[in-house]
Symmetry: C2
């Protein structure tokens, strides 16, 4: 596989003295075993792995601080590692260095049920968190599909199926503890719901992809479990019809909790993978949260909008087990799609456009994909204007990667032309460095670089991500 990793994959020197120092402090939790490096030098992106020089399993903010301080003394890069589910090459050690594995920092530090907040360590996954909250009557809604770590979700400003109602990590992180490049530890906020106390450091670190510091504690907002939940699926004759139904739903102000789009190829994939029998046409999956009466009211309005947009086969899932079946199928869509082409990898697009342009953007993209030799199923968090094309390619065929990159490029250009963004929720990583400049312009990127430079002058924090810095 010849996927081009950006040209700055220049490994830096990794001094034996640093490894010795890490071993002496962390013992077996500091390792250079090849299998461990292999595991930490990859993510769910199509990039070939780039191995770190060492992996250290940290157990506390103080330990992270010690690792960062040591690495700083030797000018060695640091890459925070959560659950490995990122999609844009965030975890690849393109300049070598130390991968800090945070999976052992997976504790719930404080549930403040009365305040609807919880403080956690970064390695806890969203499912683990919701498991820990089970008896409180509260839940953490952000759901990017993968069972990502809360630290990783903060670092990429993740969102997913529930964002249309509950917002993204941007709206739901209240405060962070961060280890900076120079080893200082800061808290970026309090547990107050709002604050005008100085620059919004919380939002600066949310989405910074490990390039400004290592997140070691996160306080997020929680929500009361809705009294009633109902889900529904329905099929449409065309993608345009489905998307127009969504647009009208949002514009009416219906507070849908989830509204997910799948094209017919994506439906075929989940039918096969999850043993379902949906009609293989464009579909919407809805979920409604509220009181019994509120859910019924929302569902009634949406059913009417769907009918006006030629939707059919409206099917309800009110029992929890039916809903689980439905959302498990949706969540396994990524892996289900990979199975459409045995041995393939996926290059996934992630544009997000103003919702008034969504139908146009999706329909133009559908036309564009018709000319492709690659299977390209489409799924989307369409209530936010965000959709993904998974381009399934044979890693042994460079021409397929080229084709996928060309399609991705056209999709991003289309989204930017329509006032959208190159990444709704996956982040920049290695893959969208060029697109980021197109989206923001050189001057805004200059501001981002100035901030990076001021907080990490030696460029040790996840170097090569977001910006193409020279080593």
């Amino acid at each position: 596989m010849n996927h081009p990793v950006p040209p700055l994959a220049v490994r830096r020197r990794f001094p034996a003295a640093l490894f010795d120092a890490l071993k002496s402090r962390f013992g077996d939790r500091a390792t250079s075993a090849h299998a461990v490096l292999e595991h930490h030098g990859r993510d769910e992106s199509p990039f070939d792995p780039q191995l770190p020089d060492a992996v250290v399993y940290a157990r506390s903010t103080e330990e992270v601080q010690a690792i960062v301080t040591l690495c700083g003394q030797y000018d060695v890069p640091i890459i925070p590692y959560g659950n490995g589910s990122s999609l844009e090459g965030h975890l690849l050690a393109v300049q070598g260095g130390v991968s800090i594995d945070l999976s052992e920092m997976n504790q719930v530090l404080a549930i403040n049920a009365e305040d609807l907040t919880v403080t956690v360590q970064p390695g806890i996954s969203r499912k683990q968190l919701n498991e820990a909250l089970r008896d409180t009557g509260l839940f953490f809604p952000i759901d990017p599909g993968a069972d990502a770590s809360i630290g990783g979700m903060s670092a990429t400003r993740a969102s997913g199926t529930n964002a249309v109602r509950y917002g993204t990590m941007r709206e739901n992180v209240l405060a962070l503890t961060v280890v900076l490049a120079d080893g200082r530890v800061i808290k970026t906020g309090t547990r107050a719901r709002k604050s005008s106390a100085g620059y919004d450091l919380t939002r600066l670190f949310v989405g910074s992809e490990g390039t400004l510091g290592v997140i070691t504690e996160i306080t997020v907002r929680l929500y009361p479990q809705p009294e009633a939940v109902s889900a529904a699926v329905c099929a449409f004759p065309s993608m345009g019809d489905a998307v127009r139904a969504v647009i009208e739903t949002i514009q009416m102000g219906v507070p849908v909790a989830r509204v997910e789009f799948l094209d017919s190829l994506a439906v075929r994939a989940i039918n096969r993978h999850s043993n379902l029998s949906f009609r293989e046409s464009p579909m919407l999956f809805f979920e409604f949260h509220g009181s019994e009466a509120g859910v019924a009211e929302q569902a009634g309005i949406v059913q009417e909008i769907v009918a006006q947009n030629s939707g059919a086969d409206f099917e309800w899932a009110t029992r929890p087990e039916d809903r689980s079946r439905l959302w498990n199928a949706r969540h396994s869509a990524y892996f289900a799609m990979l199975q459409l082409k045995p041995g393939c990898r996926a290059v996934t697009t992630d544009v997000c456009v103003p919702i008034s342009r969504l139908a146009e953007c999706v329909v133009e993209t559908e036309q564009d994909l018709k000319a492709s030799s690659l299977p390209c199923p489409i799924v989307g968090h369409v209530g936010d204007g965000n959709f993904h094309v998974a381009m399934l390619l044979d890693p042994a065929k460079p021409e397929e990667m080229e084709e996928a990159e060309a399609i991705n490029h056209r999709i991003v250009q289309r989204a930017l032309r329509m006032g959208g963004t190159c990444t709704g929720e996956h982040g920049v990583g290695l893959h969208k460095i060029g697109f980021l400049i197109e989206e923001h312009g050189e001057d805004a990127i200059g501001v981002m670089r100035a901030i990076k430079q001021s907080l990490d002058p030696k460029n040790l924090m996840n170097p090569g991500k977001i910006f193409s810095f020279a080593a």
Copy 2:
């Protein structure tokens, strides 16, 4: 009046050549007329005015850019000026310089009704904006009481009565155009509802109080006018009872649109000012938004919670004119309170605490105030844990200012001890520079300063605010 302006009120040199250059470009829109300087050297804070050297009325981003560039050439400070309603000394020219008046930049640039967004110039006020939206079926909910400019509200991360349901400026600004200290112009985002494209520059500038650049365009989210709106007031035997009713309402997840607290002194003030006859005891003002059924359901739950917390005199305002009367009274509370003590000025506190600590914080504060010689009415956006004490003092008596500052200090200490913030919505300005350090710690302030330094190395953008930089 002897209120201490921080020691760095060191005026910088204002070269005649700069004024000549401004006059030659802007004609009568560049002025040093004393009355105009007087008007621009003050805000609603208790600080004595500090006059700028000149005021320039800008009409476009390009004009702002020209002013910033000229000032940069002469090392002269810049202070963006909206409607003058800030409360913490944000607009005072403590180092002299040019006040850029943005009130003529008050146009709506684009209403994107389908996307629920609008793009405006910074000088438009929230009332003007809602007037412009009247025929769209949409509204902009953020409501800090004063008819502040949208630019100023962005710069202070304002919120107000509706934030409990609709969030603050943090959640509602989608994108900004900003003129940086070096004259470059950047756009910080797109109209997409969410994005993971690099550092969150939008949130960095929201709340930066003019210290990082001048905001010249703002895109904010809009909301469909609710189908039904209902408001209610009720009285409580004690502040603790009222606040506990609010806490239970929030914890139940009732999506109240507004829930405002007034203590008995504040009620007396609005009774007198607005010719009302509420019982002079602690009160809550509620507003509910939703469908007819949804509003009825919310109101029913809240009525039950209120009854369980000894609330009485539940009075409904369902007709628009009754609601206007109610909220006009609430919005005039600040001026109504000033009339409790003729000739007084107000020092207003602005702490916000996790809601589980709100009753404790308010009750301790009430005890504390009993010992004071100053009238100190309390109002609060209690759904967010945010409340204000207006300490009414005679500007001719330094001992009253000292007393007010001592009370403020104790309230902030109390809030910080309870995990809260020194400012929920008013910002830091000149007044909370010290509290900011207590709240965040030196290291986090160091990060803020590093960002400031990297974007404004000559400290020309609203110097002396947020941080106590030397001139």
